[in-house]
Symmetry: C2
Subunit: 211 residues, 2 copies
């Protein structure tokens, strides 16, 4: 029975572009996997704790010798780990804040990247090896060659490496650009680019979920 | 009266390389600025909250109409903002976890980057314009050209842009490499590189604090 782990991280409870595209994926997936199960985790409403010393030191301490704080930190990480390990397909939506992914995405990755257990450090070696991973990203502007902020995309390049460290070897990024074109007057000329980008992303998401 | 804001983010309460270099900076700074004041903020023991909807929506709501949750989120951000605004020199130490900065650093940046107040979006336009900023980074391996993980440094390039967005135009990065050489057998051959790198970083930090 296929099991999809669906993760959102946009702060916006309504109108989020990245959430919308991930939902298009999930809807298509449900239709094409009537026997499938889906876990939805919302990192905005339930933010993962920052990696801390209690967790790192607790992980190096035998269970019976852990302090209550260490035991609690390890227990929380175990829930994140089991959630990742028990899925066989993933859709993760990620907005861009201040030219990078939200801090909740890094906190989540720091919980689930455990070398030797979930992570081997390279594509093909880790929990995600052989599993379908789709990352939906939304970007307020454009970071394409020639754009004024070329080279300022600190979202997709990192996420690619982080998921590769978890073994991902069947990963696709679907990116919507110019999401701020409707609210930032300096980007108003790019509203059509944004709309076309969103429509194409939703279709790409539906197609990949069906494949 | 000069005022240094000293920020640490390594989880390790003892033996942290990045903390050690930042402390070398602070020590030298105190010696050369006997009339100066110093604020120390530890993002590991006091982690900043993840950016959330209460803060974003609260920031767009007149003070008298904010919910208690919004008011509290805005109040916390205000403390971070005033701490940055009231300093005139900065030393920030940042380790690398899973090929990037800790989530606490991103959470802190998301608190303090406020377009039109602290951030103009480019070097020279923002709260850090004309102020001395020093970022100490520690990296477990090496991401230099030719290294197996060339291109996997998702720490320094982002931090450079994030601080530029805050206006930084007098910024120096001091980086220690191969910090894992003493614990990771695969990197054992690089212990000397690490030690030389740390010694050079401490000296560079002392010199810059004195300048």
């Amino acid at each position: 029975m296929p099991h999809l782990l669906h993760i959102d991280s946009s702060l916006a409870p309504e109108g989020s572009v990245s959430r919308g595209v991930a939902e298009a994926y999930a809807e298509s997936w449900r239709k094409h996997h009537p026997d499938g199960t889906l876990t939805h985790r919302d990192l905005a409403t339930s933010p993962p704790p920052h990696l801390n010393w209690a967790l790192v030191s607790g992980g190096q301490t035998p269970p019976e010798q852990r302090t209550p704080e260490q035991a609690e930190a390890v227990k929380i990480r175990e829930e994140y780990l089991e959630e990742v390990e028990s899925a066989d397909e993933y859709v993760i939506s990620v907005p861009m804040y201040n030219y990078a992914y939200p801090s909740t995405i890094k906190a989540w990755l720091d919980q689930v990247i455990v070398m030797g257990r979930t992570a081997g450090g390279t594509a093909g070696d880790g929990v995600l090896a052989g599993r379908k991973v789709t990352v939906i990203t939304a970007q307020g502007g454009s970071y394409a060659p020639g754009a004024p902020k070329e080279g300022w995309d600190h979202q997709v390049p990192y996420l690619r490496h982080a998921f590769e460290a978890l073994g991902a070897d069947n990963i696709e990024f679907i990116t919507v650009v110019m999401t701020l074109s409707k609210v930032n007057p300096a980007l108003a000329a790019f509203t059509d680019v944004f709309e076309a980008s969103r429509t194409a992303a939703e279709q790409a998401a539906r197609d990949r979920a069906a494949a």
